[in-house]
């Protein structure tokens, strides 16, 4: 089972996957026997939110795999979500704090490229996916059948994460996310400059900048961006993190520096880039302090909590600036601010906020755009493609492109729909030393490993100009089939070869049938 997430838009049973379908597919089995393992690609709730429910409530006891950072950071996300669900919305809790702890204890951490033999047949391997710290694409192989499930990925590097990286693999199937199936994005630098300009302008005018952000991911990305800018511009204005979660998250980021981008890793020989020079803790009492500052506050879409509290105080001043993430769920204040330019927001019947501050919308997304999806698909050249994690009309558009431009059959099944994909199967036979030697293996030796745009090991010997190998397949009762050379077969049979020649018929020959045959070269 790839990922075990939840739907943020639903608050009833629809929020979790329909686990009953697992049992329906294998009658008589329980969850543990029906699934070989669960692999989680990254710590976002739409990929992991239902995991504690699945293991602690549904009772799945089999292996669970995720990368080291995901295992370290997922509990923060899960606990944060559980709190919002129970404390703020007053909903019945689906799983407890202990459930999260117990669930995470069962997780086996994965390193990138580490090949894991899950059971006798199943092999899995994680590849770097960008997106968020610890995000992985998963390669899975059963016998000769192989597939890659991308999870969410990013094909362009950002400040703190590298771009997705995968080897050339022989795949029957690629299952890829398609959040931006139709969008092509422009250069990131321009958008970064725009953001920094807006922030700098605000603070130099004595204003306060509120950056509502989730604890993990964008917050670190923007923080690196700002810390670096502050250093270059020699700015002394404080950058604050709202207490708790984010500071703790930065501590994890420090231990997990090996999972960030190459640039960060290279710059980090002595100084850890997550030791931010200009960033400090925020005290609640600072809200009303005069003077400029930058503040990171959770949650990201100003849906409540501390970011809302600060927003209430800072929104009425036109000197201040609020930056919004690229996407906000309907119903949040973030969403209201994005749609149109409201001057007044009604929180409830009694409270309303006058909005006079500047609004800047961030357009950094950690997802690949449609060009990235096409590039990855072309690079991996799978036999089939399935699109997931996207919106139907866009997916339909991308499917057409993949089928027409890349010539690969492509599907985008709806929930509860089943797609059957034919897979490769090789019979295992043996071959003699002589047969192998007779085929030119030298080409494979000469072909050095080529690196490609996504880097990695090239399939050696996959070039089209090899010699045709010819041998005899010997099938003996109660023995494995075996390929050998012609003379080895004769030797095995204990028989002498019988050569067959074709000669032109000379009329004189008929008369003198007794004369010797001319030892001419065989001709046809």
């Amino acid at each position: 089972m790839f990922d075990c997430g939840m739907h943020m838009g639903h608050h009833d049973h629809q929020r979790y996957p329909d686990f009953a379908r697992i049992l329906a597919a294998t009658p008589g089995a329980d969850f543990t026997s029906a699934i070989s393992c669960v692999v989680i690609t990254h710590f976002h709730l739409d990929h992991i939110g239902a995991l504690p429910y699945f293991t602690e409530v549904c009772g799945y006891h089999g292996p669970i795999y995720m990368t080291y950072p995901t295992k370290a950071l997922a509990p923060l996300m899960l606990e944060d979500y559980r709190k919002v669900m129970v404390d703020h919305r007053g909903e019945e809790e689906q799983y407890s704090y202990e459930d999260i702890q117990n669930c995470m204890k069962k997780v086996i951490p994965l390193d990138l490229k580490q090949t894991i033999q899950v059971d006798r047949e199943l092999v899995i391997r994680a590849y770097y996916a960008g997106h968020v710290l610890g995000a992985a694409m998963i390669y899975a192989k059963v016998g000769d059948a192989a597939l890659v499930y991308t999870g969410d990925y990013n094909m362009t590097p950002d400040r703190h994460l590298g771009a997705a990286q995968i080897d050339h693999l022989k795949l029957d199937l690629l299952i890829t996310e398609s959040t931006y199936a139709k969008t092509v994005r422009d250069s990131k630098h321009a958008r970064e400059r725009e953001f920094l300009k807006a922030v700098h302008k605000c603070v130099s005018g004595g204003g306060k900048v509120l950056i509502p952000a989730f604890a993990l991911g964008r917050a670190q990305e923007l923080c690196i961006l700002l810390d670096d800018y502050w250093e270059r511009m020699n700015l002394k204005i404080p950058i604050y993190f709202s207490a708790g979660l984010t500071i703790q998250a930065n501590m994890y980021y420090k231990m997990l520096i090996g999972w960030t981008s190459q640039k960060i890793k290279d710059s980090y020989t002595v100084h850890n880039p997550f030791d931010f020079k200009h960033v400090c803790d925020f005290q609640r009492s600072f809200i009303n302090d005069p003077g400029p500052c930058v503040l990171f506050a959770t949650p990201g879409m100003i849906s409540g909590g501390f970011s809302l509290e600060v927003f209430k105080r800072w929104a009425p001043s036109e000197k201040n600036l609020v930056t919004l993430p690229g996407y906000c769920v309907a119903g949040t204040i973030g969403h209201k601010l994005m749609s149109g330019k409201p001057t007044r927001i009604d929180l409830d019947k009694e409270t309303h906020i006058d909005v006079r501050c500047q609004i800047h919308q961030l357009s950094f997304s950690p997802h690949t755009d449609s060009k990235g999806i096409m590039d990855l698909t072309e690079f991996l050249s799978p036999s089939h493609v399935i699109l997931v994690h996207g919106e139907k009309p866009q997916m339909s558009f991308l499917k057409e492109r993949i089928e027409s431009e890349l010539g690969m059959p492509c599907y985008y099944p709806a929930n509860n729909e089943t797609v059957s994909i034919p897979t490769t199967k090789n019979l295992k036979i043996s071959a003699t030393d002589k047969f192998i030697a007779s085929c030119s293996t030298s080409q494979a030796r000469d072909s050095t490993q080529k690196s490609n745009l996504i880097c990695g090991n090239h399939l050696s010997g996959a070039n089209g100009d090899e010699k045709l190998a010819e041998g005899i397949l010997l099938m003996e009762k109660s023995k494995d089939a075996k390929i050998l050379c012609e003379d080895e077969l004769l030797q095995l049979l204990g028989a002498e070869g019988h050569s067959l020649q074709f000669e032109p018929l000379l009329h004189s020959r008929i008369g003198e049938a007794e004369t010797d045959i001319v030892d001419d070269l065989a001709s046809e």
Partner: protein, 677 residues
């Protein structure tokens, strides 16, 4: 397959100088580890030679040469295709090789972390070397004077393991140090891997590194060829206090084990023979009992007795350090083991805290800052309890030194003369340095400063020739604590390990045979190797395994030869990828697929005649043809549909015909009466 052991562990022991081998698999030449025996450095006088240089009189006063039999042997072999490195110390000699033209295409495989530590160690070595060069100047042409005389003899005898044969002594392993560009060149040839990552060499060999437990980044290599799979097992620990434990489960599939853990030859084990007696008994009972299940062996391996002893030793060292501090003395700890340094740092901070002593701790090394910072950012390479520090929310760091650094109790400086050191310097203090030969200026300066005071303490690793090492600092009043540390598998765990791994063949050091008796009635066989000798290793599979895709299999046209045997002609492309041969259907299927090309046995003239007649061919034996004795040549004359003549001898048949369709008819008839494919 061939194996040549080119070097057994030097005087530095398994940790500092692992053994080295040349292994040839399917024509691919592999070098396994390439260390340098740094204990030879003790024969050189430290620089600068001050007035108080003690009894350095007969030490060599020159720019040092370095002893690497592994590099010499690999160079002599004319190059290798790949080098597999199992530890940072195992790569110290590599730049000697990679600078040679015959190694231009050699690829080096090493774990990411070992490469990082190895590079730092090589940098440190070059830095120390440059101190000598600064003092003596660069070598002039030709070999230095000391290489001919008495001094050389002394140097070689300091390398305890070397048998000195006066005649024809091979000096090839004695080399001048490589340069910074050599090191860069070496790192360029390096491909780093993670634990559990499979890499393919040459399309044919699959290489995989698994943790060995001895040190951060150290690994056991799995080498999978098409006809054999080999485990290269260097020194290994099953439970570690810092590095990820030996992942022996991933080695279970391999047929052959190259056992290269010589640590039980070390002095340390002798001392501990008594200590280990109980365990010995337990092991013996394990060996005797029939049908002991694997779990008991696994239990024996994962018992943390070894590491408990190691922690006890560390605690003892810490108590000695704290005693010295209490008496007003300073402590110098020149130990080259990363794990030991990290553990001592953790324990000493507790010890000092509990006795309320506040003394600064210095780590003085070019690599200090880097080492200290990256060790807190490599959770994937650490033992499980340390990984838990990442996953549990209580701890803020993976190692205790992060706290020490934050509290300003640990100071890191590249050199003694570094800016800021004097300001922080306060005696008594504790100083760590990575050089264990005591020839690096940091250790030299501090020893000169402290050697005359008996309150001071020097912590040395056992196995070093202490007398020779300390010679330049005599007479010394400083207390010397010689410690030994875990360096590999204990003898009592060897057989349980083999029982768990279930190999078919074990390649075992001849030298260890007496110390570690082979298990009687073991289901595997032994081959013993010794230094300098080449042994042949049989493949475990005679044939190669080839994948036959179902679409190719369906295209086959098998022919039944008798009840038990069928044969089919196979035309396909043979691909070799990631160690697997696969036959792939050719793109253009030739139309000759039903053409027989190989025939055997004799053709019976009578049966051919009736076969021809069945096909409506008018034919007959020539008039003068008599049914002669077997072995005679016979002919058949064909008159319709075309004219032809078939001549049959026991070993060949000739069809004389000008008409293509008639030829085909004859050929078909012949095929039906003759064995062929």
């Amino acid at each position: 397959m061939k194996l040549t052991c080119v070097a057994t562990p030097g005087s530095g022991g398994d940790y500092h100088t692992p053994a080295s081998h040349l292994l040839e698999v399917e024509g691919v030449r592999l070098l396994l580890d390439c260390p340098v025996d740094l204990s030879a450095l003790a024969a050189f006088a430290p620089v600068p030679l001050g007035a108080d240089c003690g009894d350095a009189g007969d030490l060599i006063r020159a720019v040092p040469y370095y002893w690497s039999p592994a590099a010499a042997a690999a160079a002599k072999a004319g190059g290798v295709d790949a080098v597999l490195v199992s530890s940072a110390t195992g790569m110290l000699g590599l730049p000697f090789l990679t600078r040679l033209p015959s190694f231009a295409n050699t690829k080096v495989y090493v774990t990411e972390l070992a490469a990082r530590i190895g590079k730092l160690m090589m940098g440190e070595l070059m830095e120390m070397h440059s101190e000598f060069v600064r003092y003596y100047g660069l070598d002039t042409d030709g070999s230095p004077k000391w290489m001919q005389g008495e001094k050389l003899h002394k140097l070689l005898s300091s390398l305890q393991n070397i048998v000195i044969e006066d005649e024809g002594m091979d000096l090839a392993p004695l080399m001048p140090l490589y340069s910074a560009p050599n090191l860069e060149e070496c790192m360029r040839k390096t491909q780093t891997v993670k634990y559990g990552e499979e890499v393919c060499f040459n399309g044919m060999l699959m290489l995989k590194a698994s943790s060995s437990g001895l040190e951060l980044g150290n690994c056991v290599w799995s080498i999978k060829g098409p006809r054999a799979s080999i485990t290269y097992l260097p020194s290994t620990l099953f439970v570690s206090a810092h590095a990820l434990d030996c992942d022996y489960n991933s080695l279970k599939e391999n047929d052959i084990i190259l056992f290269s853990d010589f640590s039980s030859l070390n002095v340390m084990d002798e001392n501990n023979e008594n200590l280990g007696e109980n365990a010995m008994v337990c092991d013996d009972s394990l060996l005797r009992a029939d049908g002991v299940d694997e779990d008991e062996y696994v239990q024996c391996l994962s018992k943390n007795d070894d590491i408990a002893e190691e922690i006890e030793r560390i605690s003892f060292i810490c108590s000695c350090i704290s005693d010295a501090i209490k008496s007003g003395g300073s402590v110098l700890i020149p130990i080259g083991r990363l794990g030991v340094i990290l553990l001592i740092l953790e324990h000493i901070s507790e010890t000092l805290l509990s006795s309320n002593m506040k003394v600064p701790i210095f780590m003085i090394s070019d690599a200090a800052e880097k080492i200290i910072s990256f060790t807190n950012a490599v959770p994937e390479w650490l033992c499980k309890p340390r990984q838990e520090k990442l996953f549990s929310r209580e701890e803020e760091a993976l190692f205790g030194h992060v706290e020490l650094l934050k509290e300003g109790r640990l100071f890191l400086f590249p050199h003694l003369y570094s800016k800021g050191l004097l300001a922080a310097w306060k005696e008594p203090c504790i100083v760590f340095c990575l050089d264990w030969s005591l020839r690096h200026s940091t250790a030299v300066h501090l020893l000169r400063r402290w050697h005359a005071d008996k309150r001071n303490l020097l912590v040395l690793e056992q196995g070093v020739d202490t007398e020779l090492t300390l010679k330049p600092f005599t007479p010394a009043a400083i207390q010397v604590l010689e410690c030994s540390f875990l360096s590999g598998i204990k003898v009592r765990k060897v057989n349980p390990l083999l029982s768990v791994l279930k190999p078919k063949l074990v390649l075992f050091p001849e030298d260890l045979k007496s110390r570690c008796p082979s298990k009687e009635d073991a289901p595997w066989s032994y081959l013993y190797y010794s230094k300098g000798k080449t042994i042949e290793i049989p493949n475990t599979r005679e044939d190669f395994e080839v994948g036959l895709p179902t679409d190719v299999a369906f295209g086959l046209q098998p022919r039944q030869l008798d009840k038990a045997i069928a044969v089919a002609r196979l035309r396909a492309k043979l691909h070799l990828s990631k160690g697997q041969y696969v036959l792939v259907a050719p793109k253009d299927q030739s139309d000759e697929s039903n053409r027989q090309l190989l025939h055997w046995g004799a053709v019976d003239a009578g049966r051919l005649l009736s076969a021809l007649q069945e096909k409506g061919i008018e034919c007959a034996f020539p008039a003068d043809d008599d049914d002669g004795p077997a072995g005679c040549e016979r002919s058949i004359l064909i008159t319709s549909p075309g004219e032809a003549l078939v001549k049959m001898a026991p070993e060949k048949t000739v069809i004389y015909c000008d008409d293509e369709s008639t030829t085909r008819l004859i050929y078909d008839a012949l095929s039906s009466v003759c064995n062929g494919i």
